[in-house]
Symmetry: C2
Subunit: 100 residues, 2 copies
DNA sequence: ATTGATTTGACTAATTTTGTCAAATCACTT
DNA sequence: AAGTGATTTGACAAAATTAGTCAAATCAAT
């Protein structure tokens, strides 16, 4: 399963674009894009959607990839990560039902 | 399923302690404890462990509750929260195997 | 109304995140 | 090996978020 960074890096290469060019399209320093590709930094939601646009990726799928990366990264050093995710699932369902 | 805030609030009441007293035990302003109980703020890991100590709660379980609250809260406004959690699970397993 | 517990909100301090930039490194070509 | 252009790195500053302090407001019970 590819990480968000891997996805946007592969896609850029597939499209034959240089960081410089993506940088111009995104209006974002190429150093940051480089870091996003190597997962040294995390993208904002807006940036994710911009990537989807530029690279013709399904925004929903890209959001899922980005968001799940973030959750997984936060939990990877957590002893009981799997249990936490299970409980979180229950809680999310509850919260969504309750509040929206 | 109880939230972290609910748990620590109930336990405090069960023990018949006032915020002021818990505040002294935790060395933390009672305003903050009040906010933690009502989930207006998020506890740090250290604080969670301190609560477990004070209230005789299983630290592991309390951590799970606290951490899952955080994840659930972050995702509750996310369209595809369930999918994100599923993907995150896969990624966590992978990351734990790979890095530790 | 008074007392004591809890909650609220304004304020400051501390921490984390974000972007900018230039220099360093890398890969390729000649 | 030098030169070219792409990518990566790291130091720095700006911006945003989070944490804690405090006093006043609210609440609950008498």
């Amino acid at each position: 399963m590819k990480s968000f960074g891997e996805i946007i890096k592969e896609k850029r290469e597939e499209k034959g674009l240089f960081l410089r060019q993506v940088s111009a399209l995104m209006e974002l320093d190429q150093a940051i894009i480089s870091k996003l590709e190597r997962q040294e930094r995390k993208a904002s939601r807006e940036q994710v959607l911009k990537f989807a646009e530029i690279y013709d990726l399904n925004p929903k799928d890209l959001i899922i990839s980005w968001r799940s990366d973030k959750v997984a990264y936060e939990l990877m050093n957590e002893e009981n990560a799997e249990q936490i995710l299970k409980v979180a699932e229950t809680k999310v369902k509850y919260l969504k039902k309750k509040i929206g």
